[in-house]
Subunit: 327 residues, 2 copies
């Protein structure tokens, strides 16, 4: 019997989940839940769209709900609310607030007898588990995470809020020389500015003050002021033609030493190169939905993260098959 | 209370475990078990050496035994035997025989109420878990594993058995163009010969027939005949000076596509660059020893692999700490 998946929130990520479910024959899409008028939502696969208001009626019709809202305001409310009714997966990515999100979701999931997995995706997610594995192996070492080259939606949104900006895309670019320094095993201390640059493609409104826009972007605290930032002004057509995708990726590097005199260096490196950030993230979400459904069947309830789930739970293959063909 | 580790077999890997235990403050080395005369064994740390014949007397004095024998003849006997007495870790790496090794160890470990983890290291081990994670995420894709540049002990041993050879080291070298083809996402079919070359440094015996040695190596079935092999004759001094280390490494690459028309490509790549293969492997073994001790305390017995162990069990940090700092 296939795993019945619900998608809560039908933006880029929700659509990615819909496509990922199609690629995984042991899963099926039961319904898409939307805050919009469901009659106005046409799904890619023809799956039915349902009003988010009616979600409680689906309590026994889904095995896992994959929540595809944003981390700023959606998930802190949606995940605890839905974890009382369903096994849930989210991609909560505000690193600093994970402990409090975990606590709330854990309480709700336990109350409902459900299994929740939070912060699933690639960072947090696959990058986190790589950091964990490489840290436990190379106990004496240093960690480096680089992001990009890819589109940061948060930074693109921040630029769009600048006066005189009509539209924008921001690329986070890792600095090659900093990556080489990290891989050297010399444990360099790298500043924020040394690790990444930010490249902005901005469509100005007609008659806008370009110098002012550039200055407003470059001096924006948290988002840009700590980075070497480049601003390119382009037309709306150019933005559509050359910058409509959502590529991303990154690198997790750990170096460390072993030996009686720390004479042996080791480098562990994990990297992703993604044409579509939301579609890749969606694939991770679906694999963890499989794990959540299984763990719940075994009676394991409450909130979990990628750290708490044995990899075998993610695969549709049996332990025997995995040992014979993948170990 | 720290985790009391025993080391069974004191070669390169056993010595690596001894050094790894020193790097992990929550573990301590209780004893080294050897088939040699214990009086003749001087450990790096000063830990006591004990005759392998007396191992049963240590039943309640160890939390985990790390078995450092070879896969060909040692581990198939040692791991089931020791799993009845102790929680055990081994690095059994004969991929084809893993299912039968698993079955034997599982039976013994369950009989003794112990937890065993087999095939721990980097391949099988970290490479296996990377294959699993990347397969469940990119369901529609292709896998590539490359090894090297590094010393293959099995191939070096094979050369040493050739008539007229005094000593030898063999390096497995991944072919850069094949790696680039794999990363392209075009799912190329790569033959054994296309993926790796083999480079041999051979010290001949005095008066040996060099042309015959070269031919014997290059035509050796399984080991060399399917590869482009280069043979360099060198002196014993050169071998000692330039080829005494045991570096290794490799790459696990998975590419796959997503999207309604499979229009988006993704590349996941994991790589290791190791100055000392046995010392790195030993670090992996110690992390899994921690996990085995914990799992056994929770009442989970029998045989496991890296696929069956939630990553959090590998870390000395609590779940709360991991969520706050590593997720």
């Amino acid at each position: 019997m296939s795993i019945r998946i619900g998608i809560y929130g039908y933006g880029n990520l929700g659509k990615g989940v819909e496509l990922a479910v199609k690629q995984n024959p042991d899963t099926e899409l039961a319904a898409v839940f939307t805050r919009r008028d469901p009659a106005s939502v046409k799904t890619i696969s023809g799956a039915q769209a349902v009003s988010a208001d009616d979600v409680a009626q689906w309590k026994d019709k889904l095995d896992v709900m994959i929540i595809c809202g944003g981390s700023a305001t959606d998930l802190p409310v949606q995940t605890p609310m839905l974890a009382e009714m369903f096994n849930v997966i989210d991609s909560f990515d505000t690193h600093a607030n994970i402990p409090q999100h975990y606590a709330k979701v854990d309480e709700a999931a336990k109350k409902g007898g459900n299994t929740a997995v939070i912060s699933v995706g690639w960072d947090p997610g696959m990058f986190s588990v790589q950091r964990l594995y490489s840290n436990v192996i190379l106990n004496n070492g240093a960690d480096y995470t680089f992001w990009g080259k890819g589109v940061s939606q948060g930074h693109s949104d921040a630029i769009r809020r600048v006066k005189g900006v009509k539209d924008a895309k921001q690329y986070t670019v890792p600095v090659e020389s900093a990556m080489e320094a990290a891989r050297s095993g010399n444990n360099p201390e790298l500043t924020t500015r040394q690790k990444h640059t930010r490249e902005c493609f901005v469509v100005p409104e007609e008659g806008a003050d370009l110098a002012q826009i550039e200055s407003d972007i470059k001096n924006m605290p948290n988002y840009f002021s700590d980075y070497d930032t480049t601003v390119h002004f382009i037309t709306e057509d150019e933005l559509k033609k050359n910058h409509s995708g959502l590529p991303h990726g990154g690198f997790v590097i750990r170096t460390g030493t072993t030996g009686a005199e720390n004479e042996h260096k080791h480098v562990i490196e994990y990297s992703l190169k993604l044409d579509s950030n939301p579609e890749f993230t969606a694939c991770v979400l679906v694999a963890f939905a499989r794990a959540a459904a299984r763990l719940n069947k075994e009676g394991s309830t409450g909130c979990k993260t990628i750290f708490d789930i044995a990899p075998a739970y993610l695969s549709a293959q049996s332990g025997e098959e995995l040992r014979a063909h993948m170990l």
